[in-house]
Symmetry: C2
Subunit: 305 residues, 2 copies
Amino acid sequence: MILTVTLNTALDITYRVRELRPHGSHRVSEVTERPGGKGVNVARVLAALGHEVTVTGFTGGATGRELRSQLTGTPGILDALVPVAGTIRRTIAVVDELTGDTTQLNEPGPTVTSAEWSTFQKAYESLLPGVSAVALCGSLPPGLPVGAYAGLIRTARTAGVPVLLDTSGEPLRRGVAARPDIVKPNTDELAELTGSHDPLRGARDTRRRGAHAVVASLGPKGLLATTPEGTWQATPPTHIPGNPTGAGDAAVAGLLEGLPWPDRLSRAVALSAATVLAPVAGEFDRTAYEELLERVRVTGEANAA
Amino acid sequence: MILTVTLNTALDITYRVRELRPHGSHRVSEVTERPGGKGVNVARVLAALGHEVTVTGFTGGATGRELRSQLTGTPGILDALVPVAGTIRRTIAVVDELTGDTTQLNEPGPTVTSAEWSTFQKAYESLLPGVSAVALCGSLPPGLPVGAYAGLIRTARTAGVPVLLDTSGEPLRRGVAARPDIVKPNTDELAELTGSHDPLRGARDTRRRGAHAVVASLGPKGLLATTPEGTWQATPPTHIPGNPTGAGDAAVAGLLEGLPWPDRLSRAVALSAATVLAPVAGEFDRTAYEELLERVRVTGEANAA
């Protein structure tokens, strides 16, 4: 069982419009809705790969009811979301049919009380026994302490469960200091954390700050992993055209499978590229994934033993 | 009891963002939700004026449940919405904090089956006895015949209930031919219907096509009424700054109060202007309404008896 944590769950809504014009009025030609938030996306990819996944985080309000009812229909996913009094957020992606570009509108999410946060921490702790890995994903909703992820990392480490962190800003900084097994920043997040725009230098600095392994996402150029076992870069075979929504979450799913680093990175990059290629945003194309997996190039080497 | 019909009910959501940039990512700083669709807005204004109003139309899905739960809390409004299998639409108004301008995104609404339409027609007919006026408002959801309003007008006329129609395009054209008591087009709708960009000429043509009275909305210039009793224009005292959302629906509420035409137009224009002035989109400012009512200028004259 793998556990994913999404403290700022979302109902992800996609609108198709002909062309988004500020201050204009638009008929939406197509509406799709999907349970979202980074950890929920990671869980969906893991479930599609045949893993059993438990999803936790917060749920509440009409949006929360909708998210849960859609989550219930996804095989392989167990709902362990914790109810709050507030309403979880919607995110709206407005896709421009003319250009294919997307405009994103993200609601702030519910304000979580300290009592609700305590309830969550207890629920989380009780889920850890029997879990092979935990992923802590995405932004924090209003009301949570900025050190929320740092606390959850310490609890996982005490329980002996490997923990991956995928967030940004101050929650990332505090989280790194709590010594997670893996962090997965992109180059912007790495630069914000370390001040360095060189991913290798930034990743090494992040390890010095506490992370055991750093997997930096280089966007279309793949992943760079700096780990206690060695340093590797995995690159997709060609430039992949398509929609990058959810590509980072697919990579996280690949990193949670617990394989040796070169294989793990190949799978993460292939999943990420197969998500960019898929016609539905955030889903991955299985045939493309299997083909890409053969063609991802991994360079680098293990440290001397 | 006044009856308003909203075949394309909506949950109206307002987002505040700093500045809407196409293809950018935006944090929404404030989210508000309100039951919507033109007839629902008309009902809210009538209820605030002390009238008893019954709201009918369609409801369905998670959005419908949310709309009904919010409608239940509005004093003076009776919910007689008819359930459908589909989900009623959301509309999203994105307000730019920098400029105050609004970008509108409107979902299409549920596809209504012919069985659901038959159920609605029976429910509507059973609501008409004891009703002093009925307003048919807004667009048609997918699946309804383009002559839907024309049929509802004939049913109201058979029941002896005065009927107002506020819609556009082909449903307006068909509706006008069914001889409603009042239609309330704006100048664009009038031009589309009659080919004339002169509101007086367009209104007269619309009466020849079947409408008993035509109240043309001239936007910030007020209302022009062409009726069997005479022709009048009502103008607000000054240019009213603010948000015109819902101003047309407030005018419809004023037109349903059944007063002599000059008084009726004054109230409609004052309500409309007091809605533009109000801080919350679609609500009217009562103090402003009472002050404006004294200052609306009505010109024109009754026909010779």
